[in-house]
């Protein structure tokens, strides 16, 4: 059974204090790893897809990296508007299979 574990469950940072969120996975054949941002009461917002170990993607203050066992979401000099829950998900099927999600990291950036 595919498993996705995110850590920490919650993280409180000061504005400008960089950090990383972790997503470790145990799957039988990773096809893609996805990062989402979710604000309270809203649907997840797609951020990145990573397909192979060594791959990196960036968007504004966020950078996602992938190894064979885990992915990191690095947040550089965060701002209060980066506060959200960040979700990691994996896809192991090649077709239209759904995603297996981790439980998320709740990130709070204090001014």
């Amino acid at each position: 059974e595919d498993q996705v574990t995110q850590s920490p469950e919650a993280l409180r940072l000061q504005e400008g204090e960089s950090s990383s969120l972790n997503c470790s996975y145990t799957v039988s054949g990773l096809r893609g790893l996805f990062w989402y941002r979710q604000d309270p009461g809203k649907g997840p917002e797609f951020l990145f897809t990573l397909y192979s170990a060594g791959e990196e993607k960036e968007k504004e203050r966020l950078k996602a990296t992938l190894t064979k066992k885990e992915s990191f979401l690095h947040i550089t000099a965060p701002k209060p508007e980066d506060s959200a829950t960040y979700l990691c998900a994996v896809q192991t099927g090649g077709g239209a299979d759904g995603l297996t999600f981790g439980k998320g990291t709740h990130l709070i950036i204090q001014p």
Binding site: L87, A96, G98, L99
Partner: protein, 112 residues
């Protein structure tokens, strides 16, 4: 931009009622999905569809059915709602299998 819309943001139903949740996407995506999200359990896949009239069970299909008569529309049906189906329901679509899934705003369903 991809837009996925869901018919209701909030819904309150009684135990035993038949409930329809509708989802529409406007980007001609092949694949559509229904998830539910619960505190402490995260998002879990209920059903998905990779083509019109095609459907596949996800991880927790019991008590649910789906319908996809048109490419842009995917419906989730609770045949006889129960209190343990109180949850946030999220619809998503994707162009093809390994492309990112785009989510709607969600429907918060309460079953009394």
């Amino acid at each position: 931009d991809v837009k996925v819309t869901q018919s209701s943001r909030y819904l309150v139903k009684r135990t035993g009622e038949k409930v329809f949740l509708e989802c529409v996407q406007d980007m001609d995506h092949e694949n559509m999905f229904w998830y539910r999200q619960d505190p402490g359990l995260g998002l879990r896949l209920i059903y998905f569809s990779y083509d019109v009239k095609m459907k596949e069970k996800g991880d927790i299909p019991e008590g649910y059915s789906v319908s996809r008569e048109k490419k842009e529309r995917f419906s989730l049906i609770l045949e006889s709602a129960s209190t343990n189906q109180t949850s946030m329901y999220l619809c998503a679509s994707s162009l093809f299998g390994l492309y990112g899934q785009y989510f709607g705003p969600g429907t918060r369903l309460t079953v009394l």
